[in-house]
């Protein structure tokens, strides 16, 4: 599966990711500095530092890994099925759906700590389902452009409903305000375990789908001519995206830009073939998320910046650099 064209960027990305993971364990907003953390890694007796490293920084690093992979893969998938290099998980009503679901639960009196995971995923699926049901009308589903348009329209609708709920219920507004910007702070391994099964399931299904999906890049007819069912493929891919984005959103809140910029970067490093892009997204997604998270802890210590803001700040220059450096990498 790993061919020549993929090997070198993959190796570099994995190395960088490893370094970033270690840095993520060593750097923080509190009193426990790099040196003390390093000593902890070598089993020094230091209860406070050990707690900070293993109970605060390790969980958020793991969550960052999962969220980064999920968002990057979803972005690559969406761009493949919509054949639109600017498609994004925010596009198909996925993020908006999970935000709405969480807002509904909050205003019904649920507390932020519980319920979040299942509801966000369910909301993501419902958001996708709405979009798909529109596209099923009169064969609209075969047209990627209309899929994108329907997604944009539904996203706005769902976002408007969320705003309405938040305006009516101040308590929900106060609690959700911090969730809506996205963050890895204070996440527990339990949160991660709750979404891991569905993410793993999505990953397994995806493995079986990669080859047929990459044929979509040749266009509807070519894909059908190769014996695939574009409509069915697209449906499955959207469900995978809903599971991944719903899971990621549930633990970290909506995190902008990763799903857009990482596949873009991957394509520019190893070419447009989906079979390579998806693999390269696996290390690149977490790399961006973790780098942004480390920055978020350092910039305003002892407070932290919202991660969602930082992924955008980190991601935008990358995107601009790629676009300026060469011809726009296309999907086909």
């Amino acid at each position: 599966m790993i061919d020549e064209k993929l090997r070198r960027p993959m190796q570099a990305a994995l190395m960088l990711l490893l370094v970033t993971c270690v840095a993520s364990l060593l750097i923080g907003a509190g009193d426990v500095g790099v040196w003390r953390s390093l000593m902890v890694l070598f089993r020094a007796e230091d209860a406070d530092a050990a707690f900070t490293v293993w109970s605060l920084r390790l969980p958020r690093t793991l969550v960052g890994l999962a969220v980064g992979m999920a968002l990057a893969i979803s972005g690559a998938l969406l761009q493949a099925i919509s054949r639109n290099p600017l498609a994004e998980p925010g596009l198909l009503g996925v993020s908006a759906g999970s935000a709405l679901a969480v807002a509904i639960m909050l205003s019904l009196g649920a507390s932020m700590m519980e319920l979040r995971v299942g509801m966000a995923q369910l909301g993501a699926l419902l958001g996708c389902a709405c979009v798909l049901s529109v596209t099923r009308l009169r064969g609209v589903g075969n047209d990627p452009i209309r899929l994108v348009l329907a997604g944009a329209a539904f996203s706005s609708l769902l976002a408007a409903l969320t705003s309405l709920l938040l305006l009516m219920d101040q308590r929900a507004a106060d609690e959700i305000r911090f969730w809506v910007v996205g963050s890895l702070a204070g996440r527990r391994v339990d949160d991660l375990l709750a979404v891991l099964p569905s993410m793993a399931l999505a990953g397994l299904v995806l493995l079986a789908l990669v080859r047929p999906l990459s044929s979509l890049a040749l266009g509807e007819r070519a894909s059908a001519g190769l014996g695939h069912h574009p409509g069915r493929l697209r449906l499955l891919a959207v469900i995978i995206v809903a599971l991944l984005v719903g899971g990621a959103t549930a633990i970290a809140g909506p995190i902008a830009f990763v799903g857009l910029v990482v596949p873009f970067l991957a394509r520019s490093l190893c070419g447009p073939d989906l079979r390579r892009t998806l693999w390269l997204c696996l290390p690149l997604g977490p790399l961006l998320v973790l780098l942004a998270d480390i920055l978020s802890r350092c910039l305003v210590a002892p407070s932290e910046l919202p991660l969602g803001v930082l992924t955008a700040i980190c991601g935008a220059p990358v995107l601009i650099a790629v676009v300026r450096a060469r011809r726009l990498p296309t999907l086909s």
């Binding site: 920084r57 700590m113 308590r171 802890r297 002892p302 932290e304």
Partner: protein, 311 residues
């Protein structure tokens, strides 16, 4: 600086004084928007500020309408029993002007942060009293209460209420400082991603100081901000102290404590392990102000100190 508009206002007020003095218009007050003339014995009062509702009740006047407390649909918990029939005329910072008009008030008491555009509308409905804003200061609520009392024509009652608060705070202080040093404490509001450290210049932190606590903000709160940015969980030891007062935006302090206790970083704090954390009503502690709120805050402090002594 005397702008043209101010000049017109002054002229207008002078003209009003000259022309209208024959009616029941008895007193004129110094407010944030210049001099305002109020009726001698206002009967239909609407309060658009939690501190104003509190001061009115302390002065023995039950307003017809009020705004809901922040984060709620009702007036704050500690006042709810005293005003069973009060009309809600909006949420915090969001007045329903039609509901105000429907009550045909003869006096409106508003927040020092009332925007001028709102004032322009409200002052056409009834004389509107807006206390001059002095930024965050732990004693601002006293001046506000005095002004509202004056507007209601009930200065003696307000002075009495303020004196009662002072006396009670002194008594508590004597007890709490009996062993010499003032115990250190922070007031924090627990948010899902970490605590906000509240400024030492707020109403409730002011009451804590008056009751003999050494309230700290660990240098985290910028000048003229009500609280710090959410603290990283790694930096939680910053809120270590002899005591910790813990609230949320909501009324249920106990719930805040439970949420916070789910975080291991919080459970590790020395002050938590010594069980010196006091869960308090966030509506009362971080939103309300006034003589009755002061008494309620002192109640909470007294209960906390007493239950600690019996342990």
């Amino acid at each position: 600086m005397l702008s043209k508009r101010n000049l017109f206002c002054t002229l207008g007020v002078l003209a009003g004084v000259a022309l209208g003095s024959s009616a029941a218009m008895a007193r004129s007050l110094d407010t944030a928007f210049g001099e305002v003339e109020v009726n001698d014995d206002p009967q239909r009062v609407v309060t658009l500020y939690e501190g104003a509702l509190d001061a009115s009740l302390a002065a023995g006047v039950t307003p017809l309408g009020a705004i809901a407390t922040r984060g709620g649909q009702q007036v704050a918990n500690y006042l709810r029993d005293q005003v069973p029939d009060i009309q809600m005329v909006g949420l915090a910072g969001e007045t329903n002007l039609e509901a105000v008009v429907a009550l045909s008030p003869d006096l409106i008491l508003a927040s020092p942060r009332l925007p001028e555009a709102q004032y322009a509308l409200l002052s056409q409905v009834a004389p509107t009293v807006v206390p001059p804003s002095s930024g965050f200061s732990p004693d601002a609520w006293r001046d506000e209460a005095l002004l509202f009392g004056e507007a209601l024509g009930r200065e003696p009652q307000i002075n009495e209420a303020l004196a009662a608060v002072d006396q009670r705070a002194e008594e508590l202080k004597a007890r709490i400082n009996a062993e010499g040093q003032a115990p250190s404490t922070h007031l924090v509001r627990w948010m899902p991603q970490g605590p906000l450290v509240m400024s030492t210049k707020l109403f409730s932190t002011g009451m804590l100081s008056a009751a003999g606590f050494a309230v700290e903000d660990s240098g985290l709160v910028a000048d003229q901000r009500p609280h710090s940015d959410p603290l990283s969980l790694e930096a939680l030891p910053e809120i270590e102290g002899d005591w910790l007062f813990l609230a949320t935006l909501n009324e249920d302090g106990q719930e805040a404590l439970e949420t916070a206790s789910q975080s291991e970083a919080f459970r590790r704090l020395d002050v938590v392990q010594r069980d010196q954390v006091v869960a308090v009503d966030g509506q009362l502690w971080t939103s309300a102000s006034g003589p009755l709120a002061a008494q309620a805050v002192l109640d909470d402090i007294e209960t906390a100190v007493e239950s600690n002594a019996t342990q």
